[in-house]
């Protein structure tokens, strides 16, 4: 049976890079990158790294009758490394997802 120490050996983490975005403008793409935002990071081994993001995109969709604000936080965002030095935060949701706000983290294991 695999032990906990085998799963999480000491000093398993080589590096952690992190950051915050507030209302950063999304670029337009296609497919899963219909709207996206790229962040340059220090080089990591993508085969040993994992990216996290907690936050959302915002939209200026028409809010409807009498309710809602002009800005909705409705987009689901995925984080992935598209190269050793690029973190991409993207959504395949509608093209109205204009900005992105949240915290990201890239953890590289040894």
């Amino acid at each position: 049976m695999t032990t906990v120490s085998e799963l999480f050996p000491q000093s398993a983490i080589k590096s952690i890079q992190e950051g915050v975005l507030v209302g950063a403008t999304n670029l337009s793409g296609s497919g899963e990158d219909k709207k996206y935002h790229d962040i340059t990071i220090s080089a990591v081994d993508t085969s040993k790294s994992i990216a996290f993001f907690e936050g959302s995109t915002s939209s200026t969709l028409y809010p409807g009758l009498y309710y809602g604000n002009s800005t909705y936080a409705i987009g689901v965002v995925q984080a992935r490394l598209t190269s050793s030095t690029n973190l991409r935060l993207s959504t395949a949701s509608g093209s109205n997802m204009t900005t992105i706000t949240g915290r990201w983290k890239v953890v590289e294991y040894a």
């Binding site: 890079q17 915050v20 009498y66 309710y67």
Partner: protein
């Protein structure tokens, strides 16, 4: 800053108008467009990168409160100058029936200043003589902010 023997480099991410929209703590030096190295004592979020220094960014637009229907009625009675009797008359006015129908069917108690329907209701009240253009302008101008 150092973490586990690794030197952490801090960077600001600016947008196309040089406004800082993010900060990053990276594992080493990077060179990239829209990426400005910063020191630990700098909090550039929302500020503008101008001639090699951070200056105050643009003042954000006013954030208007979402009102309840009762608060919206109160706006009509204050800046709109409508009396209770005028409100009762307006409620029964066939020219306004469509807007009252939306009001009742909306299924929510929220009234949004930015909604085109809010502008349409106020315009209908003006066009039917219940408020003046000046009163309409006052309602919008004095809409409560966050």
């Amino acid at each position: 800053m150092e973490s586990g023997g690794v030197r952490i480099m801090r960077y600001a991410q600016i947008n196309e108008t040089n406004i800082c929209v993010g900060t990053s703590n990276l594992n080493g030096e990077v060179t990239a467009a829209y990426t400005i190295p910063i020191t630990d004592d700098v909090d550039p979020l929302g500020k503008k990168w101008e001639n090699g220094a951070w200056v105050d960014g643009p003042v954000p637009a006013a954030s208007y409160k979402i009102l309840t229907k009762l608060q919206a009625i109160e706006r009509l009675m204050t800046d709109g100058g409508m009396t209770p009797a005028e409100l009762v008359t307006a409620k029964a006015d066939a020219n306004l029936a469509f807007y009252w129908m939306i009001w009742e069917f909306a299924g929510t108690d929220d009234v949004n200043r930015a909604s085109p329907n809010t502008a349409a209701v106020l315009a209908a009240l003006r066009d039917n003589g219940y408020i003046t253009q000046a009163e309409l302008d006052a309602i919008m101008a004095n809409w409560p902010t966050e």
